[in-house]
Symmetry: C2
Subunit: 373 residues, 2 copies
């Protein structure tokens, strides 16, 4: 059996960690009888700086031939914040309509959490982040400005009516950002969360801020309520985003599946990453069940460690386990996760986790562990 | 010397905690030679349910005669989320142009934090939350819908151009929310933060998400950079909001003054409240230096504990200390905070902090402590 998988190492430490991940996945394949044919893409800052290209038409055409992309990280000190993130990472998520951003928050055995008195059994939930709407749609003064003057005028007009203010019309003086939630967009993410919960502890928590951003999150709640009626044995709960940051820290054991719009998902999954031991241990999947999905560590490209072979590859390896799950290789996926746990319990870890191993050493070690664990 | 102060107990446990706070402040006045003339307002859910009134013209006229409002909490199970929050709390913040929401994040001696290995010296910073703009302006599909159809059409149009989609025109299907940041709005908040930092550890961290919500937070960063040039001896730093939730948990000692737009401020100050020991210990000030300011615990109205005399009043008493500072009674303000600390160290606390004292007992106890501490 052969799987074809695209790989984008990306920037900074991205290529090193993806290399480690590939080694582990290949080895899992040897054990479980499949073979991965990797196709590498040179998408990232270097190419952008050399050619001005972010995600090209050709990249898209080629990537669309794969059901899975293994992604390292994006971001470079030489490029203004936002350019690569929007032009590459978000562009892939949006273009391939990867409407689920799935982030397991799970404290593995042997990992230290910054929370006092919390153990692995207390920290084990999943965040389903809607991944194509909300304030990530990229519509605001700059976008509209390029296109036309009409929106700017409408927003100014609304703003001054709302506040009885007279805002100066110099373009620099007022910026606005528009978030959009649609019924079908919210529904498919929420439904995914309920399906997941049905196979877990049967509880879904919606995280929003419907008491203030009532327009978008009012619709979100309506959709949530509608979807919930189809799952009578799943318990449901609404949390405001501000409150949920407290409960993640105080009572993570309350959560099973958390579903949330894009921007709040971004925020609470970083907090979730920290309680599960930090960014070195936090994977994410950008999923389009019927298209091209992408699996990545949720951390950034840490340019200053580039080429030093010191970065913790576990988040990336874990993302690889999610990728295997996505390919239907569930046994192999589980073995990869067991190998990660074994390696942590043995203290075979990088320095951020108190060890002294190199990125490549961890890759090699896990590749060997995964054969037997 | 007499100070006139408005008091709004509000809903749920609000009246009990404000009563405790008043007692402490009155007592501090006796020691430091001032007297507070309280004027109570019956703004809240009960009046709303009886009369339909939220914040009336007359309330506004009367409240505007005061430089300070002592506020309990708002929110009631009998009313849909958002109505009271927007119609009362946010209405006061916006109407009186309370552009600073000031939230000290400080772990007091003797208080337990959910973070492992963190002590009072590690958790001591201030969040300056911009309080009148951003996604709190209340402009979105519903607001616009009531007013006119034009914006909805423009947003749909932008959305479909952005995604090449054809979104159905049924009003229920697409909701949008508009956030606004203006240069003067951002500037006054950022300047306040720098002034504060100049009198503290001389470091300001801006928290935004300029890599994705580039329209509003791009302007925010530009303003931050401009303001910073006027404070050459204050160190500055940009953090993305997702990352900052991690550092609050992992390295709270990094922060001195944090300045952030309204919505992210809402989120990170709840997280801040938790690391300083929970909502029972988190005060906030809504400040218009030249107008009417409002001081409140940042927690909600906890309707189910209403009338039980069990709620922790310390956040409210601490908010009272901020109110005294605002009135220029700095010595009294400091004494109130010392009384809180003394009481905690003595274990004279409510059950959320491991004690068995009642709300009113704490009020009485602090009123007596503040005379000598
Ligand atoms: C890099 C950035 C655009 C991205 C996001 O905001 O989604 C990241 O923070 C993430 O969570 O994957
Ligand atoms: C009650 C709510 C409207 C309010 C807010 O979002 O500002 C609260 O969470 C706060 O932080 O004071």
């Amino acid at each position: 059996m052969q799987h074809r998988v695209a790989a984008i190492g990306g920037d900074g430490i991205g290529p090193e960690i993806v290399a480690a991940g590939k080694e582990v996945l290949d080895s899992a394949g040897e054990r479980y009888g499949f073979d991965i044919a990797w196709t590498d893409f040179d998408i990232g800052a270097d190419r952008y700086l050399a050619t001005g290209e972010l995600l090209t038409e050709e990249d898209i055409r080629e990537l669309s031939k794969f059901s899975s992309i293994y992604f390292g990280s994006i971001g470079d000190d030489r490029v203004k914040p936002g350019i690569l993130e929007k032009g590459i990472l978000l562009a892939i998520r949006f273009h391939f309509d990867q409407f689920i951003n799935l982030r397991p928050i799970k404290l593995l055995d042997g990992v230290e959490t910054p929370l006092a008195n919390k153990r692995p059994k207390d920290i084990d939930f999943v965040v389903v982040r809607e991944n194509t709407e909300d304030f990530y749609v990229g519509i605001g003064s700059r976008f509209a400005g390029r296109r036309e003057q009409k929106t700017l005028e409408v927003v100014r007009d609304l703003y001054s009516v709302r506040f009885g203010l007279d805002v100066e019309t110099d373009a620099d003086e007022l910026a606005y950002q528009i978030g959009v939630v649609t019924r079908p967009g919210a529904e498919r993410a929420i439904r995914y969360a309920f399906d997941l919960a049905a196979a877990r502890e049967k509880k879904v928590t919606s995280v929003d801020k419907a008491n203030v951003l009532s327009d978008v999150y009012g619709l979100w709640r309506d959709v949530f309520t509608d979807v919930a009626t189809g799952y009578p044995d799943v318990r449901t709960e609404f949390n405001f985003v501000d409150a949920v940051t407290m409960w993640f820290v105080k009572n993570p054991e309350w959560f099973d599946v958390v579903v949330t719009p894009n921007m709040f998902g971004d925020i609470i999954t970083d907090l979730g990453a920290m309680i599960q031991g930090g960014l070195g241990l936090a994977p994410g999947g950008n999923i389009n069940p019927a298209g091209t999905s992408m699996f990545e560590p949720i951390h950034g490209s840490a340019p200053k460690y580039r080429g030093q072979d010191v970065t913790n590859p576990l988040a990336t390896v874990w993302a690889g386990s999610m990728l295997l799950d996505h390919l239907g290789e569930h046994e192999a996926a589980a073995a990869v996760l067991r190998a990660i746990e074994r390696s942590i319990l043995d203290g075979y870890v990088t320095r951020d986790m108190g060890g002294a191993k190199k990125t490549s050493e961890i890759g090699r070690h896990l590749a060997s562990l995964v054969k037997t664990v």
